[in-house]
Symmetry: C2
Subunit: 336 residues, 2 copies
């Protein structure tokens, strides 16, 4: 199978939302009047972001999911994506399920493949995704995207879904932790097929004051919000642990806490909102069928503190996963 | 040096053309009224698209140049790009010249870095570039981008600049051909620091009927135009050879012809225009300070023929470089 046949067979479909899709030197997109384009790129490397023998269907899902998660964090509606793929060989037994996993998630979000590149090389997947957000029609400076920079002292801090499961799944796969069968299956599913919180991100536009996705670990990703917003936060340890469904399953409490606070790969949203918007947050969660948990509040004191029930500081951190300072086979998205 | 320090030091600059640039989950772009976004992605892999020991400054230049060349082929004005980078290590001695080469070309085209990703892994560069082209303001279906699909029987076929030099440079570096010092230097420069024909592409809007960039070899890339336009072409051998400045330097004629016809990496534009537009093509060439040579004409007979002075067919081809059907250490961009 040659390159053009590979593209034709696995990666060519109509893209009616684009002016020009796959097959020319460039794809052409036109945004609707008053809309702006939200753009994010993530590169996934075999042996670093995923196990080389991972199920290709899951990998196709995950490669797009981590990018859609960035759109969700901005409150952007998915439109389209490009895929650049380096492959050791053109292997139909791998490409068939990989593309099926990719298309299934793309279709679920009406996100069209509009271009890309294929080459031979060590397995590497790079997706650039495009979404739309409302903007000020009269200028380039105003956006209604959710950004990291809007958190204010007094705002509540929330996370969606569950925390720590992907990290627990990774520890289990690495043999560093033994989960029982139901926990292992659930955590592995979270690690391999994360759910981008696109509907919640859209529902939070105009409600959340700042938002990021949890790709590198909660403390690190919330740390980006604090840094960009020039504020601090205090989080409630009990509320955080309650975000992990396996809190009562006998896992060592400190390990569990570490997975919740520093585990990557959750692809949940961490966001802030004024207390006056608490009911609107609850309505957004319900409208998007996504659980949302309040975990603390923004304060003016810089830095991030996790407090136990007695008000004692349990953990402080601003360190996010860093591809060049740490080791680890894990999947984190690190936007430049 | 950690990942965030690496990004801060080498890949963070103001991007006043973007609503939101580097530093959030997504970049936000707003296109001007009546404009559409042209998008292209190219992935460059060490050992496949470039020698692993290539001068990093040149590599920074080339990684962006091959993407700008796709914008040129569409007649799009460069706006912005994202960079995803897998690196074996965070090596300042490599990152410093790499980023300098990248920024120099980006600045020359006012093309802003608005986002990206960095990770550890086998050296891999993936750039997605954004340009703007005029479109029909009232709908999504009309674009004034140069496409591959508009060539008509009777149109003239042109190429910009020179052909075959990058391929000669590669043959020389591989030790398969011995060029004299001036030719070796010129050909190596073409291989390592190609010039995207952005100004010519812009000047050809409304004049060229179809356009593509020569990344995989002239016959292959013109072949894409013929296929998408449902036409054929006949090319003039003497005019083609005259596109290579080393035609009189004693290189074997058949090798030279092969480099001109099938060599990749030239990043020139191959385009078609109605004979009535010949003066306008010449004016576009002059306005963009880019040489343009007529090499043949489009006809209704499908396929591509190269004819000598006596009208004999010398070569026919539709085969483009294919990463999965051939071997070779060469740099070709293969848009999905």
């Amino acid at each position: 199978m040659g390159e053009f046949e590979l593209i034709r067979r696995y990666f060519t479909r109509p893209s009616p939302g684009a002016v020009v899709g796959v097959g020319d030197d460039c794809a052409i997109l036109q945004t609707a009047s008053g809309m702006q384009l939200a753009i994010s790129t993530d590169m996934l490397v075999a042996g670093r972001h995923f196990f080389p023998d991972v199920d290709p269907y899951s990998l196709g899902h995950k490669a797009l999911a981590v990018n859609l998660s960035d759109l969700a964090a901005c409150g952007a509606r998915p439109l389209a994506f490009t895929l650049a793929l380096a492959l050791p060989s053109a292997d139909a037994a791998w490409l068939e399920p990989f593309s099926a996993g990719l298309w299934a998630l793309a279709d679920a979000h009406s996100c069209e493949l509009i271009g890309g590149d294929t080459t031979r090389g060590p397995l590497n997947l790079c997706i650039t995704v495009f979404g739309e957000v409302p903007g000020e029609a009269t200028g380039r400076t105003r956006t209604y995207a959710l950004l990291r920079s809007g958190a204010q002292a007094g705002d509540d801090v929330y996370v969606s879904g569950t925390l720590g499961e992907a990290a627990l799944g990774l520890q289990h796969q690495l043999g560093k932790l033994k989960l029982d069968a139901p926990a292992a299956a659930a955590c592995r599913a979270r690690l391999e097929r994360p759910t981008p919180r696109v509907a919640l991100g859209l529902a939070l536009r105009g409600i959340a004051s700042a938002c990021a996705d949890v790709s590198d670990g909660l403390l690190g990703d919330l740390g980006h919000i604090l840094e960009r917003s020039s504020v601090g936060a205090q989080l409630d340890d009990a509320a955080l642990l309650a975000c992990c469904p396996w809190v009562r399953s006998g896992i060592d409490a400190q390990l569990l806490r570490d997975c919740v606070l520093n585990g990557g790969d959750d692809y949940e949203l961490v966001f802030t909102a004024a207390p006056a918007h608490a009911a609107a947050v609850a309505a957004a969660a319900q409208a998007s069928s996504t659980a949302v948990q309040r975990i603390g509040r923004i304060d003016a004191l810089s830095g991030l503190r996790v407090l136990d029930g007695a008000g004692q500081v349990l953990a402080t951190s601003s360190g996010s996963f860093d591809h060049f300072s740490q080791d680890g086979n894990s999947d984190r998205s690190n936007p430049i």
